[in-house]
């Protein structure tokens, strides 16, 4: 068993969803129930495989390095190989993906968004899952690029076909923004290949191979990756696609987008940009930190200006991802651990909030907060779940959100030696203000939707009922995890810390970038 998991587990988990989708392709569209069952069975199988991988991962007891490594020929001519592997940074994100997808299928079991067509919808969802898992597992830049892009098409169709009123605009905007970033990212990857000491795309070898690249080139290369990953995160000036995509996407699309797709960007920084080009990262860090805190404040102010519940949650994503990016910009193990935690926590909490927004929309047929109200009276259980998630999202200690925000703020008090303390301490102050604003908008949102009496138009609406069985099933795992991770964060920190420490270059502990270059022996 152990041998099988080590050699095949990761590839199987990655491609099983596509196999499921292929099987579904061959079955006529009218057998809706069969399609649902196949999709659920496939995603559950992947989730079980994920649990087995987790057990084996703990058993291997090698959190800091890659586990389950597969290294096979793929495209010889360009020295790109099929290299897969996970360590303590990627495993939590991968497991999050494996958890979210079956929950999405359960959630949509009985209410597929118009124009229905469960076959196509579920096939896209499964292809999406392959892309997401593959991105977290790939250890070769070209393989990573391919998986990173594989998620674009299913998401584009999901927004465009099953989305809201303005779906066409939102879908193409999402697609164009991301593609623009990834095209430049690809040029950066190629530059790494040709300018580095060893002509390789292997992420395990690149930190060493890239050390020989001239500093000015490094800064440019990092710039290309910054655009690719920063747009996906999304960071402040590139965030405009996010509220549109989130608002228009069907519930499940929003959940996946928030829970996993945004993490592909931050994961790229942690996995690729910073370990491979630490010096350039140090040059960029103050700038990234600045955009991160602008994102925190801007996102929070954006939330306060929304009437639409879903749009509010979308803007809160901008703010939360700002905290994650601030943690990353400190270039310390503490900050990056906080970022990894923040990614998972944001995935769970914001995913939950989008589920709730979807359920509210289904009951009230509107997300206009001026028309909502009295959820606690009409659907008390759902109302309290919304309250719980709002608390988690604003960073209440004891829930998962806290461990993403607080350590990120703390880390910016003490950034890597190479960075300026003054700058990052000012960022810290601004970010701390952001948490106050977060409490403001989330409580305001909760008050508007859950407190008070229901508005007249919905007061006697039979459509408004409490959470259903499939909703409970889909939400329970997320709610439990939010609580468990909040109470016992070491579950995650314990796994990510060795890997984060391994990924950081020693030269970040020197006092200036010149010293950093000296430390590298040049």
């Amino acid at each position: 068993m152990a041998e099988f998991l080590n050699d095949w587990g990761l590839s199987l988990a990655t491609f099983l969803p596509v196999i499921g989708a292929t099987v579904m392709l061959l079955i006529p569209k009218t057998n809706e129930h069969v399609h649902k069952l196949i999709a659920l069975a496939t995603s559950m199988a992947v989730a079980v495989l994920g649990v087995l991988l987790l057990i084996q991962f703990i058993d291997n007891d090698n959190y800091g390095n890659l586990n389950f490594v597969v290294d096979k020929n793929w495209i010889d001519v360009i020295d790109s190989r099929y290299i897969m592997g996970v360590d303590g940074i990627s495993l939590p994100l991968m497991l999050l993906t494996m958890l979210i997808v079956p929950l999405c299928i359960i959630y949509s079991w009985n209410h597929f968004p118009e124009p229905r067509n469960p076959k196509a919808f579920l096939m896209l969802l499964l292809i999406l899952e392959t892309g997401m898992i593959g991105t977290f597992a790939a250890q070769d830049l070209i393989l990573f690029f391919v998986f990173f892009e594989v998620v674009l098409l299913p998401m584009y169709f999901m927004i465009g076909v099953w989305g809201g009123e303005n779906r066409r605009y939102a879908a193409i905007k999402f697609f164009l923004f991301t593609l623009f970033g990834s095209a430049l990212m690809l040029v950066s990857f190629l530059a790494l290949y040709f300018l580095g000491d060893a002509n390789t795309f292997d992420m395990r070898l690149l930190p060493e191979a890239a050390a020989g690249i001239a500093q000015s080139s490094q800064v440019w290369i990092f710039g290309g990756m910054f655009l690719g990953f920063g747009i996906k995160v999304p960071m402040f000036p590139f965030h405009t696609w996010l509220p549109d995509a989130h608002t228009e996407a069907p519930t499940v699309g929003s959940v996946i987008l928030a829970a996993v797709l945004l993490k592909l960007g931050t994961y790229g920084f942690v996995r690729i940009a910073i370990p491979i080009l630490p010096e350039a990262a140090a040059e960029w860090a103050p700038f990234i930190g600045l955009l991160a805190v602008i994102g925190i404040i801007y996102g929070a102010l954006g939330c306060l200006a929304q009437r639409d519940l879903k749009r509010l949650v979308a803007f809160s994503s901008v703010a939360h991802m700002g905290f994650v990016m601030l943690g990353i910009a400190t270039l310390t193990d503490f900050g990056i651990n906080a970022a990894v935690f923040g990614m998972v926590a944001h995935g769970l909490i914001t995913g939950m909030l989008f589920f709730l927004a979807g359920s509210i929309k289904e009951r009230y047929h509107t997300l206009d907060m001026a028309r909502l109200g009295g959820l606690l009276l009409q659907a008390p259980r759902m109302g309290w779940i919304l309250g719980f998630c709002a608390m988690a999202s604003l960073g209440l200690p004891g829930l998962a959100g806290f461990w993403g925000e607080f350590p990120a703020i703390l880390a910016s008090y003490n950034p890597a030696e190479i960075l300026s303390e003054e700058i990052f301490r000012s960022y810290m102050v601004i970010a701390a203000l952001g948490t106050v604003l977060a409490a403001g908008y989330l409580l305001w949102m909760f008050q508007k939707t859950a407190f008070g009496n229901p508005k007249d138009e919905f007061a006697n609406d039979p459509n408004v009922k409490d959470a259903t069985a499939s909703e409970y099933l889909a939400w329970a795992p997320l709610l439990i995890l939010i609580l468990v991770l909040g109470v016992y964060p070491y579950l995650l920190f314990g796994a990510s810390d060795p890997a984060v420490v391994n990924s950081l270059s020693e030269c970040l502990e020197s006092t200036s970038s010149e010293a950093c270059f000296d430390a590298a022996g040049r």
């Binding site: 010889d76 076909v161 623009f180 690809l186 040709f194």
Partner: protein, 500 residues
């Protein structure tokens, strides 16, 4: 006069390597047989011609395989005709493309009440020119191959005789093509004057040692401009949209894929062998052509409402991408050829596939408007998925084949490690985003829009030959994307280093 006599009388036929010219001879034979069939059987022969043309093309593949299996380089006529791996892979591509064109034509031509025997006969002779082009290493051979492939194409473009737009298409194509040939011939005459020889290798030697700057530069520019017409590069693309729209759609596919590829084959040979020493001249020229084509093609494609015109402008833009590696060919040598051939092969698969869908859909809607694709997903899901694969592959989205084509050209220009290369890469990156916008417009129509009310939404029936074409091109597009080694196996730069 008398001085010539002995040499005239003493004419000895040069040695002919029959195996090496077997593909060309097979095509010639099949083309002649198709024409004869018409003469002998008259109307009764109609039913067999397309099958005969298709089988003949497949037979022509046999000598290519045996030549490839032997693997040695063969030369004839003092190096004017060379069969090496570069030539073989391209010959195989031209023949497979022509086979798909026959599949696309079968129903289109049979149902349209057009002349069939002449159609396939001309098609085969055009393919013969292309196959010859892959081996041409001398100005005369290149020119003969070019005319052999062009003249039948002029006729084929006017095949829908009753439609004035088809006449316009053929006439425009003819006039522009002849104009380009004239310019090219003038350039060739300058180069010949400089070198005193028509072989590309000799021209290369003469160019590197020559002091006659203006003549050399003018010669290079004229020849490249001549081929820029052929590959429909900006600003020499103006014939393409009208010709594509007016010509029978299978011929449009033929022009957009095979004829363009033939232009690139000639360009590769000229740039790599003939002008190799003067990359200071051709590189900036090709850089401008590449940037102009991809940008102008994209911007004009954004405004199109007709699917064929859109494909024409997208073809201009794709030509810009294919020109990229040649713009740095002096810096990276045969890696540039490898990138161009990789691009051309993948482009052939996905573009032919897109045209197959266009033919299938136009059979129902009788319209070329992009809006006629609205709601296609509702009544023709399989066709919609195929078209989505092709257009997003053209846009370069992984895991579809197009991503590797784009990757190959990006890799080539970054490898050059020059300012020219990096700027080209950045411009191409922006352009690939613009391109996505109009490709996604087609996908949006098919998936997101509702079917127009008066439209016939019974399930779309696709004739078997089109299904075969779709299967072939779709499978290739997916395979090249997921397992690019399937194509790099043939286009490795070590393999296709040109012999001369």
């Amino acid at each position: 006069m008398l001085a010539f006599a002995p040499s005239l009388l003493g004419f000895v036929r040069p040695d002919i390597d029959w195996h090496a010219v077997a593909p060309e001879l097979t095509l010639l034979g099949v083309g002649a047989a198709v024409t004869l069939l018409d003469i002998i059987l008259l109307e009764r022969g109609r039913a067999y011609t397309s099958a005969m043309a298709g089988i003949g093309l497949l037979i022509a593949l046999i000598p290519i395989v045996t030549l490839a299996a032997q693997g040695d380089t063969r030369e004839m006529f003092g190096g004017a005709f060379v069969v090496d791996d570069f030539a073989l892979i391209l010959k195989a591509m031209f023949i497979v493309v022509a086979y798909v064109i026959v599949l696309l034509s079968t129903n289109y031509i049979a149902e349209g009440d057009y002349w069939e025997n002449e159609y396939y006969g001309l098609l085969l002779s055009s393919v013969l020119g292309m196959v010859l082009m892959a081996s041409a290493r001398d100005l005369i051979t290149i020119f003969v191959a070019l005319e052999l492939l062009s003249i039948p194409a002029y006729l084929l473009a006017t095949w829908r005789k009753g439609d004035p737009r088809s006449n316009e298409a053929g006439l425009k194509y003819y006039l522009m093509g002849v104009f380009a040939s004239a310019i090219m011939l003038y350039g060739m005459s300058l180069l010949f004057g400089l070198a005193g020889d028509t072989r590309l290798s000799e021209i290369s030697a003469a160019l590197s040692g020559s002091n006659a700057e203006p003549v050399a530069i003018l010669g290079i520019i004229f020849v490249i401009v001549g081929f820029a017409f052929k590959v429909s590069g900006f600003p020499f693309h103006t014939w393409a949209p009208d010709t594509y729209e007016g010509a029978p759609t299978p011929i449009t596919a033929f022009l957009a894929v095979a004829s363009k590829a033939a232009g690139f084959v000639a360009l590769m040979q000229l740039v790599h062998i003939g002008f190799g020493a003067r990359h200071d001249v051709y590189q900036p020229l090709l850089w401008i052509l590449a940037v102009g084509s991809m940008t102008a093609g994209n911007l004009m494609a954004l405004r199109q409402n007709n699917i064929v015109r859109l494909m024409a402008y997208s073809g201009v833009s794709q030509a810009g991408f294919m020109l990229m590696p040649l713009a740095v060919a002096g810096d990276i040598g045969s890696e540039a050829l490898s990138a161009v051939i990789t691009y051309v092969l993948i482009y052939a698969a996905m573009n032919l596939g897109a045209f197959a869908v266009i033919i299938a859909v136009a059979h129902r809607t009788k319209s070329g408007d992009i809006s006629s694709y609205a709601g296609l997903f509702r009544y023709a899901p399989a066709i919609t998925i195929c078209m989505s694969i092709f257009v997003f592959s053209l846009a370069g989205i992984p895991p579809l084949g197009g991503w590797f084509a784009k990757f190959a050209v990006f890799r080539a220009v970054v490898e050059a490690d020059t300012g020219w290369g990096y700027s080209l890469a950045a411009i191409a990156a922006v352009n690939s985003v613009i391109a996505l916008f109009y490709y996604a417009k087609i996908a949006r129509m098919m998936w997101f829009e509702d079917t127009p009310e008066q439209a016939d939404t019974t399930a779309l029936r696709v004739p078997p030959s089109l299904v075969a074409a779709l299967g072939l091109t779709g499978a290739a597009t997916l395979l090249f994307g997921i397992y690019p080694a399937a194509i790099t196996h043939f286009t490795d730069s070590a393999l296709i280093a040109l012999s001369y």
